[in-house]
Symmetry: C2
Subunit: 258 residues, 2 copies
């Protein structure tokens, strides 16, 4: 249940991540296939890619994530990405046909992992535990992958030029499904009546805020999620606020149910 992936090992690990609690794997795969053109074949297993190709593509994607998340699409330059990846611009363009192609590949690279936590929300589970777990996962994501969060935020704020179709289809389906789960909990009297979609938005907003606005948070508090203590504090505050907000007790009284 701990998050140990590093960005370097993103690619190798993410299939495992998705398989955990294997329920929505299909939807997840679909997401990757839809729209974004990068890595037509050999999308997950690096099959058909030479050792050197595999290595360089990963170097590029890592560098690109840093650059795009820091500067946005327009502000990023392929030259800098190439430098960061330790190769010439020409060479980078040997692996990706254009700046936009790098960008799309980077987005695709992330999207899957980024949306994974919501999929783990279990209709059978205890609402308080499930929601608390989801919130914790999302904050953990913001802590470990703030660049991914900012890249995603940037893309959406610019009007989601690349991923709009995915939002409208796959993500929409997923949100509707999980909103249904929450609604069932509500109808079962397990939590206060509240619009589940807004609840999901609130969880997204609060958790991602700490990554996207980390500079502001550091300016105001002197700390950010990279500080373990601040991370815990944030987890507690957000979780207690939201759980109490939906009428659930928090912290959980330790497992007293027989």
């Amino acid at each position: 249940m701990t998050f140990q992936w590093t960005l370097k090992s993103f690619k190798n690990q993410r299939s495992d991540i998705v398989k955990e609690k294997g329920s929505q794997v299909v939807g997840c795969k679909i997401i990757l296939m839809t729209g974004l053109g990068g890595r037509t074949q050999a999308s997950s297993k690096s099959g058909g890619m030479s050792r050197i190709q595999e290595k360089n593509r990963n170097l590029i994607l890592d560098a690109a994530l840093g650059e795009f998340s820091k500067k946005g699409f327009s502000g990023a330059t392929v030259e800098r990405i190439a430098a960061e990846a330790g190769m010439s611009k020409s060479n980078l363009l040997y692996y990706f046909t254009s700046k936009e192609a790098i960008y799309n590949a980077t987005l695709a690279h992330i999207l899957e992992v980024w949306l994974a936590p919501l999929k783990t929300l279990d209709p059978q589970g205890d609402p308080a535990k499930e929601l608390a777990g989801y919130i914790r996962q999302k904050i953990e994501m913001s802590a470990k992958f703030p660049e991914a969060s900012r890249l995603f935020a940037n893309e959406v704020m610019q009007g989601a030029p690349q991923i709009l179709p995915i939002l409208q289809t796959d993500l929409k389906r997923l949100v509707e499904e999980k909103a249904g789960v929450i609604d069932d909990w509500i109808n079962a009297g397990k939590l206060r009546r509240i619009d589940p979609v807004h609840l999901i938005f609130t969880i997204w907003a609060t958790t991602q805020h700490y990554a996207d606005f980390s500079v502001q948070i550091r300016a105001l508090t002197g700390r950010d999620l990279s500080d373990p203590e601040f991370l815990k504090q944030t987890e507690d505050s957000v979780t207690s606020l939201i759980l109490n907000g939906v009428g659930l007790n928090w912290p959980l009284e330790d497992e007293e149910q027989g």
Copy 2:
């Protein structure tokens, strides 16, 4: 208590806005003066500016807000801003010495209004009413000035290159002051013990989310804050979630206290 300003009349009205509940006017002015270079003299009253200068500067600032919020600083072009403002690029550069100068002026133009709501949080008031009012104001802002929200978000996400000093000084002071107010409420037993700074962050995050991610929200729900019904729904959901989250009753039982 309703928000009727349009962007066109931004400049003329904001002094009034700030004066309402006049407590923090000084801090507010300071904010404008700090750092951002735009409009050295004649900052509020358009004194010393010709009729034509006043008109054109406003045209430019309006156009710039649209362009910068849509494309980010790097993605924006002075040519497009000029076109949108109905003048030639050369002419625009007669009014602002550089792209960066336009950007800073636009930020300054907004910042004051953007931070105003927090200043109205009244230590003497009823906590539930005060917090609900603050949340409502923030959502209203997101509804009326989504571009301003996105501009601000963009700036902060890029590392706040222009406004970092302001965040570290003026905004920090303001947040500390208002966190103190909330803490007093907590110590008076009026609301559940929770970190007030995280509470403020949560309110910012949730309310601004609806502006910054409006494309995603439209993709998922088919609506956004420009729809009055959705606006009301959002206000209710967010307010009830947060107020219940801090242990306050919502909706307010109508004024039963003697």
